[in-house]
């Protein structure tokens, strides 16, 4: 009980002294001066709540992962359509030729594109083999299956791939 009275006594004494100082200062005049002056410009803060930063970082990572695993249909569809057209248009020997003649393709595409051309040709060959096997067994043609890593590579190398497809088509004409 004494301790509780003691708390009240300490609070009263602290309040009394603080109030004495508060009354001595001109609170209203200071407030009016601050009201009359233009408000200070607040610095631009992107994140007012710091807790949002890791949350947004995680959300961005999740979005990136989703984009890789389930890429938008537009680009993916365009690329798969390109593959379908090219596997139908090119013969097996032409693709084999593309694999066996990497130097010529490297010359026609950008300098770093040699590996991509080779990979593309191998992929085309695999698709063609799957289709041939399916047609022999009388089944419906199999769709090409790509791992997420392959899908990612295809998506982000599609500019190179389109250029290579053009090269293949040109080679076919000549």
């Amino acid at each position: 009980m004494d301790e509780i009275k003691d708390i009240d006594a300490i609070v009263d004494r602290e309040s009394e002294e603080a109030l004495r100082r508060f009354r001595a200062g001109d609170f209203t005049a200071r407030l009016n001066a601050r009201l009359a002056s233009p408000p200070p410009r607040r610095p631009f803060v992107l994140f007012r709540k710091p807790a949002l930063i890791p949350a947004l970082g995680l959300a961005a990572l999740a979005a990136a992962a989703l984009f890789v695993l389930f890429p938008p249909g537009g680009r993916n569809g365009r690329l798969e359509a390109g593959f379908r057209v090219m596997t139908e248009a090119l013969s097996r020997s032409e693709i084999l030729m593309a694999i066996e003649a990497p130097t010529g393709f490297e010359m026609r595409s950008e300098p770093a594109g040699g590996r991509n051309i080779h990979g593309l040709a191998e992929r085309l060959l695999r698709i063609l083999s799957q289709r041939e096997a399916a047609s022999v067994e009388g089944q419906a043609p199999l769709r090409p299956l790509f791992s997420p890593k392959e899908r990612f590579k295809i998506l982000y190398e599609d500019r190179v791939i389109l250029r290579v497809l053009t090269d293949i088509a040109n080679l076919k004409e000549t």
Partner: protein, 170 residues
Amino acid sequence: MAEPGSAPSLEDLLTYREEIFLLCLGFSRNAAVAEDLCQDVYLRACGKLGSVRSPEAAKVWLFRLARNICRDHYRRSRKVGFDPLDTRADLVAASNGGEPDDFEDRLVGLKSSVEALPRKLREVLILRLYARLPYADVARTLRIKEGTVMSRLHRARAAVARSMNEVRRG
């Protein structure tokens, strides 16, 4: 005073300035910071006066606003380090005839004990002890029942007393 049903004026709100200052004092560690907080409360209140429906509701609204500003300050100050405590030499001299006593130690003990309280208990204790609000106004400010105010206040006082007693002994 403003007419019933109309928005309150700044003069209406300024009648509570001492209580608001004491509330800020409860949440902060020194009078200078409390006065700055009190100014912030009124500056913010001036910008939102139009949202108050009536002068009758203005008091509770103002205390709620002050509680929110103080709570933000309290949260920030815990992250960057507490405000320094006032030196109490003048206080001791003024209220004790110049004789030194252990008031400063007891005040430090009290502040530390209040800071260690859970938020719900701390807010009730400060609104009641520092701002000296009646139970009904504390209840309306915190949107809780009066009975809850009483029980929280009892628990808060007991916890602070226990904590101060331990400090004194240990």
